[in-house]
Amino acid sequence: MHRTGELYGQFETLEQQKESAALGMWVFLATEVLFFGGLFMTYTLNRHYYGTAFGVGSNTLDLKLGGANTVILILSSLTMAMSVWASHVGKRKATTGFLLATLVLGSAFLGVKVIEYKQKFDHHLIPGYHFQIDYRAQHPAPNDDPKEIEAEKEELSKAFAKDPDLNAHAQLYFSLYFGMTGLHALHMIVGAGMLLWLIRQSMLGRFTPTYNTPVEMIGLYWHFVDIVWIYLFPLLYLIDRHQ
């Protein structure tokens, strides 16, 4: 099928083409919801079984980094929405600029995520044979705040009393943490790749007020990934913060 200008050969009209793309993206997002759904189900059941271990695991996460990432991601959704608007009204430079901003924010998110993962690695919180929930409490780094370590030790001893199998159950939490945030990060990386392509297309002036479907579709995708994080953040970071 050959492409005639903005119209791909299998379609009759531009309108039909746009409608197809939009429907396709929504259907794809429905698939994605179910895809994450399996993980959310596993999370729900295990958190129900092992509330204590999930609380302990959640408290080892860095709330500041997680919070910052949430803000970054919401901002990136804003810039993404702006670029969609800009492409609708035909502002080429603004479109490119906003896309670039989205890409920068998305990369920042991934950067923060790398820092967080590194921390978990240092604290032996990567699921596997070396997983040890109280590693940090046992082997504090020189620059760790002793008070913080004390508090953590106390929390852990309480938790161990409640749930002697804490290590295994906390490992379940971290399996889910890495599974869910990892899958989310993978979606971000794919999104970043698509943003790169969009930026190039936009610089080449491919997008006009009549043809901006790719910006809109990738925008939808980006918002979806953002929303997933909005669920992940409280479920993973905020389980047991009220104490």
């Binding site: 009393a161 409640k162 749930d163 002697p164 199998d165």
Partner: protein
Amino acid sequence: MQAQFPLIPEQASNFAPTVDLLMLFIVAICVFFAVAITAAVIYFFFKYERKHQTEIGVPIHGDMRLETAWIVVPLVLAMAMFAWGAVVYVDYRHSPGDTLDIYVVGKQWMWKVQQPNGLKEINEVHLPVGRDVRLIMASEDVIHDFSVPAFRVKMDVVPGHYNTMWFRPTKAGRYRLYCSQYCGTNHAIMTGWVTVMEQGDYAAWLSGAAGAEANPLVAGQKLFAERACITCHSSDGKGRAPSLNGLYDHQVLLADGKTVTADDAYIRESILQPNAKIVAGYQPLMPAFQGQLTEEQIIALTSYIKSLQNEPPPPTGAGIAPASGKK
């Protein structure tokens, strides 16, 4: 011929005639519909065979009354099947009160069975005829399934769970026992025999064969001391933990205000994960025994705790809810 090609297995439990009758009911309905539809199709094929090349059929687009009829009629019949099946199943899942409890542990690839008096069997189960029997089953590794076609019963044996099932053998004999849930390489030889005996024979068999075996009650009592359970769960109710006298099968009041029945599953959970349910008035002090005890040791402890059922509970310090009584 009948002996060589039976269509149904032997009927040897209280469920067998019920299940077979239910089967017959559904077979009758299904055969009726299958035959009627097939006959109609074949009849139409011959009756309306194309007569000449340009012939077309009579354009009939549908009929609301017919559509309604063949939605409603099958629905009613389906609901009848559902209801009957549900009645049998609910009965099957709720064991009656006074049962003979047999413990079954499945592991790759054998059945370990323990009689109430502690007699152990492998891939063999001896049962008395006419008694309600309850199997309490656990698995040491993967999911198995304990199945006796002659009794028309089966139940998955799931690691980490206790599953129970009950039935009443009605006919003496030897019946095949299978593992019905695929469990790895030797799944097909994880089979055995259930021997149903007259009650007198069973008692004789039990006492004759039991002599040398350790009684789980005794083993449980020993464990109860060895593992220092007794230091807190003292029988006078003055320890740091509730007395277990008279506990089994009674209501327990929990710290969160709920009550539970102290059945096998509760006792198992309380040993393995004591803090899942805390008895009202006590601190969560007990260490968890998850991974510390074998399934057989848990069974031994449970039988010991059950043997305390008829001991009088102390006036205070028993875990039993005040307004207790048999459930």
